[in-house]
């Protein structure tokens, strides 16, 4: 694969009830990403917008923000799904020979939407939708299946929440930085057993942007310290109905990760990756995905977590940003992970800097219960 770099990044502070419109959010991160790279909008060859007609409450959701993303007079397209998939398409457009630079921008205002109603529409109107399932009740089914398969306990998942909200204390952009204990999590309101309030990610508003460039464009446009290289990427989807698969079987994630690792020349991800941003929409998901990523053997991630392996000060910090548990703007989330990895690899992560980080992993999810995954490996 030809070398492609991320040369500019930005993200908003994650908030609730953000008074800015979608266009204003997109404009904010677009200008900030350009500033970060030290380039102008005329240096951008094309735009990939990541947006959702459902969450934006309109058809052709990207139409509302195309001006704001500087796409007038440029080639623009829209991916509906997590930002990691949007960035993947941006990467392919950059590799295609048609474009040297690509802006990928994602926006989301969860607090302007009806989260339960919207996630309910991810279910088949002909079958499961009538049962009233949504993101949380379906995740609860997955959580319990995972617990049953490996004999895990709610207290173990609670550690993820403690760790990630604690990590967010070092991230000035996070929505819910919190010093909490396992007991706080266990005592928080029960939503859909075994999930409690502090096991769940918050409804969030925000936006993020990344700028991709081919190697020769990157060399012309930015100094070397701005460049973080795309080493590998993979994506893969599993079956649709919750009952079509073993919800604790992460085969699609493993397939996506395998492709990314192979491209990046990684053979032992647990050792060769310095930090990972993993899609922790719910506490149990962090450990489940770490197993699917091959960073832990199946069923063992909770134990590794208990031993401190994934702590900020541990050998493999997971979600140093605070994770989705601290800020979860849907669609934006995966792109925000890429932003975090870039900042970490550049040494610009401030108080949450992972020392000596040279290889980072970002992971995004599409669909309910992690039906589809996209894995990125970035390196300096």
């Amino acid at each position: 694969m030809e070398r492609v770099a991320i040369i500019g990044v930005s993200q908003t502070k994650y908030t609730q009830n953000n008074p800015l419109s979608f266009a204003e959010l997109v404009y904010q991160v677009t200008t900030a990403a350009l500033e970060d790279a030290g380039i102008t909008i005329s240096d951008i060859d094309n735009v990939v917008s990541v947006s959702s007609d459902f969450w934006d409450g309109r058809t052709i959701s990207s139409m509302a923000i195309s001006d704001a993303s500087g796409a007038y007079g440029k080639d623009i397209t829209t991916v509906e799904g997590d930002g990691t998939f949007g960035a993947l398409y941006g990467l392919m457009r950059t590799l295609s020979g048609s474009f040297d630079t690509t802006l990928v921008v994602a926006h989301h205002k969860g607090t302007e939407s009806n989260m339960r109603g919207i996630t309910n529409t991810a279910f088949d109107p002909l079958v499961e939708r009538k049962l009233g399932l949504d993101a949380i009740s379906s995740a609860a089914l997955q959580a319990r299946r995972y617990m049953t398969k490996y004999g895990l306990k709610e207290e173990q998942f609670a550690l993820v929440s403690v760790k990630n909200h604690g990590n967010a204390m070092r991230n000035p952009l996070a929505l819910f930085p919190m010093e909490i204990t396992v007991e706080d999590v266990m005592n928080s309101r029960r939503i859909a057993d075994p999930l409690k309030l502090l096991d769940c990610s918050p409804v969030t508003d925000g936006a993020a942007a990344v700028i991709l460039a081919t190697e020769h464009a990157a060399k012309k446009l930015v100094p070397p310290q701005k460049c973080v290289w795309v080493k590998g990427v993979g994506h893969c989807a599993d079956a649709f109905r919750l009952g079509d698969r073993d919800l604790a079987d992460t085969r699609a994630l493993t397939a996506a990760a395998k492709r990314a690792y192979s491209m990046a020349g990684i053979q032992d991800p647990g050792r060769e990756i310095d930090l990972a941003e993993v899609y922790d929409a719910f506490s149990y998901m962090e450990t489940l995905w770490l197993e699917g990523l091959g960073i832990c053997p199946e069923g063992m991630a909770c134990e590794h977590l208990e031993r401190g392996r994934f702590d900020f000060t541990g050998p493999l910090p997971v979600n140093p940003s605070g994770g989705r548990l601290s800020s979860h703007p849907v669609q934006v989330a995966g792109l925000a992970e890429l932003v975090e990895c870039v900042l970490q690899l550049r040494g610009e992560a401030g108080d949450r800097q992972v020392e000596g980080a040279r290889t980072a992993l970002a992971h995004g999810v599409n669909g309910m219960c992690g039906q589809s995954h996209c894995v990125w490996i970035l390196g300096k």
């Binding site: 409450g57 002909l126 079958v127 949504d134 609860a140 009952g243």
Partner: protein
């Protein structure tokens, strides 16, 4: 330059996408729902190539992409593979009042699970591995709620 923004009170307009929908059920699920509605039976379909049995029935086998054109009647019993006790109210979505139980039920005679309600048992007593059977609604209209819920097999 952006000082004028400081004097602005942000406004919000409420809105709703009010588009009514009529979903075509299609041939595969129409057969499933007609059997459910008219005969109170749960049918699955099977791939002639790999033999996987799907319930609800599938348009294409997810392993082989062949047409699962062999139809199989199921006994309507199964084993609870997972469950959750939903404790929040969402009247626009939930056909039941909280707390209620969703179960992921591995259906006897099939290779997949169905999601449905588990009832006639206290929510806290539901266990993974329980044997359950489908209970059909009195008034069936040809949709998934023609099954009212699953209950423990006595």
């Amino acid at each position: 330059m952006s000082d004028w923004k400081k004097s602005v009170t942000p406004m919000v307009f409420p809105g709703k996408i009010a588009v009514p929908y009529t979903w075509t059920v299609g041939s595969t699920l129409s057969k499933f729902y007609c059997e459910l509605r008219d005969n109170g039976k749960i049918w699955a379909n099977k791939c002639p190539s790999c033999g996987t049995v799907f319930v609800p029935p599938k348009v294409k086998c997810i392993n082989c992409y062949r047409d699962p054109n062999i139809w199989v009647e199921l006994p309507g019993t199964g084993t609870v593979e997972s469950y959750t006790i939903v404790r929040y109210e969402e009247p626009t979505l939930h056909p039941r009042k909280a707390p209620f139980v969703y179960g992921l039920i591995k259906m006897d005679g099939a290779d997949t699970c169905m999601v449905h309600f588990i009832d006639e048992i206290e929510p806290e007593k539901v266990k993974v591995g329980m044997r359950v059977e489908a209970v059909f609604s009195e008034n069936r209209e040809g949709n998934i709620l023609d099954i009212s819920h699953f209950r423990p097999i006595k």
